[in-house]
């Protein structure tokens, strides 16, 4: 594992020097989606809760950055703390009301919340620019330079992965999985699930906000699409493609999804059709993600208690 990680780190570090400008753009997009997918999976993997509202956290951070830069002339990097706070607050509100619900009801409520935020961003022309978005956000310095943004996104991915790794091994991480595995058993040993699940939602949402910030830096703009359900769907697709049970599965899924899209789009306009077929094949034949193609070793499943 260590060697694999070291090789991956070296490859990722020298990678941008071998790419054209377009290739670099694709790489940045993949890293940003990778940060988002890893963050999303922090919640999904440890709690079993499938959020269809992570676009809200992603977009809240993105819009916070865009608004502070465009309206108050803040420097790009200085908006990061507030962008993360915005993502955290949105996650707190959605998490607080949603984690009590189970399965499909949780998923639907998270979707409803994020669509509400989308509607606000979409219609409030005076503040958010509505569907015209907020454009012309040119980050100065490091973030404005494609190679700089690539490395910033890479650092973000490493940071997020490190946080997820630490949380997974902590008592709180085990507690979350205990609730996921067997809620009745968890309660009987004295665990009250609610606060842990809200905490996991907030952490997952905050880290998703980091992806939202990077996305705006990459796109030089913010559009209501950031908050739209398709953004939530994209991250879920990345996680399905890569495999949620593997630590780096979501990041690998993000790379596969973004590269696949770039390749398919350069040949045909039927990308959604191709995506549909790929997803179908994945769910039917490789339900544990592309990563299962490369390894035989069976990792822990996501078992559910029947009692």
């Amino acid at each position: 594992m260590r060697t694999k990680l070291a090789v991956a780190a070296v490859v990722l570090a020298v990678f941008p020097w071998f790419l054209h400008d377009y290739g670099l753009q694709v790489a940045i997009q993949a890293l940003v989606l990778g940060v988002f997918a890893m963050s999303f999976n922090l919640l999904f993997r440890n709690t079993g809760l499938l959020s269809f509202g992570h676009a809200a956290c992603f977009g809240a951070a993105g819009y916070t950055t865009a608004l502070l830069v465009s309206k108050l002339r803040w420097s790009f990097a200085a908006t990061l703390p507030l962008a993360l706070v915005a993502a955290a607050l949105v996650a707190l509100v959605i998490g607080f009301f949603s984690v009590r619900l189970t399965k499909i009801y949780f998923t639907m409520l998270t979707l409803a919340f994020s669509q509400m935020l989308w509607a606000v961003a979409h219609k409030w022309y005076g503040f958010t620019g509505g569907d015209n978005g907020i454009t012309g956000l040119l980050p100065p310095g490091l973030l404005g330079n494609p190679k700089g943004l690539y490395y910033a996104s890479l650092v973000a991915l490493v940071l997020v992965s490190g946080i997820i790794y630490i949380v997974r091994r902590s008592p709180a991480g085990y507690t979350l999985r205990a609730v996921r595995d067997n809620p009745a058993r968890a309660e009987a040993i004295g665990i009250s699930a609610f606060e842990y699940m809200v905490a996991a939602f907030v952490l997952s949402g905050t880290l998703s906000g980091l992806a939202g910030f990077l996305h705006v830096a990459w796109q030089h703009s913010a559009f209501p699409d950031l908050l739209y359900w398709t953004t939530s769907a994209e991250v879920i697709i990345a996680v399905i493609l890569g495999g949620s049970a593997e630590f780096f599965g979501p990041a690998i899924g993000a790379v596969v999804l973004v590269v696949l899209e770039a390749v398919v789009r350069s040949h045909t306009q039927y990308w959604p059709l191709a995506l549909g077929m790929v997803l179908l094949a994945m769910v039917l034949f490789f339900p544990s993600g592309v990563i299962s193609l490369f390894q035989r070793r069976q990792r822990e499943e996501v078992p559910r208690a029947a009692a």
């Binding site: 902590s170 507690t175 999985r177 004295g190 842990y196 499943e301 208690a305």
Partner: protein
Amino acid sequence: MPLLEVRRVSKSFEGFQALSDVSLAVEEGSLYALMGPNGAGKTTLFNVITGRYTLDAGRVLFANQDISHTPTHRIIHYGIGVSFQRAIPFPSMTVLENVALAVLALDRKTRNFAHPLLSYADAAERAEEIISWVGLDDLKRQLTAALPQGDLKRVDIAIALASKPRLLLLDEPLAGLSRAERAQMVGFIRELLRSLGTTLLFTEHDTEAVLQLAGRIMVLHRGSVLAEGTPNEIRSHPQVQEAFLGREA
């Protein structure tokens, strides 16, 4: 003064009377059994005691404190542990992690998001002690998902013991076990009381095992108390003989 006292408890679900006017008292240091066919109300009574279900009427007292409306996740802090009928602990974790988590949960140390679970040396040590005590030393690094039912019951009891319960509720500890495993489990339950002093309240279908093990027995039938007493009293109780011990009477 009994350790656990259930006073005139009733509980119904949408018109179905699951428990009506049930009272029982479990003395500290005793083995108390609940018997009765499926649907008699045994598991409902457990769920009432552990706060999973709210009561329609009556009270539950533990060590003289009223715990009638205590949420389930606080019950353990009063000293009531539970082991479930279908023992499926936390399958994604090893045996050691299962038990260590229960130790930390009792000490309210699970809020930490930064330090590795097994770096809590005290908790890991206590977990290891309990695991040896239940005889699962060889399996402590195994994922529980891979273990057979007999071992899972022991893991589940180890988790319950990690919470240092004064009273342990065991829901059908012998269900799903082979004959050999049953005999082992019966010895194990006796040992719980003898060497740890844990008071036990358990449900069981296996009439012979209950009559062998329990100090007192309550027989439930359709949510009501049919009989209550020592094994000998239960054995010779006419209605019980008719309803359950027919073959032996």
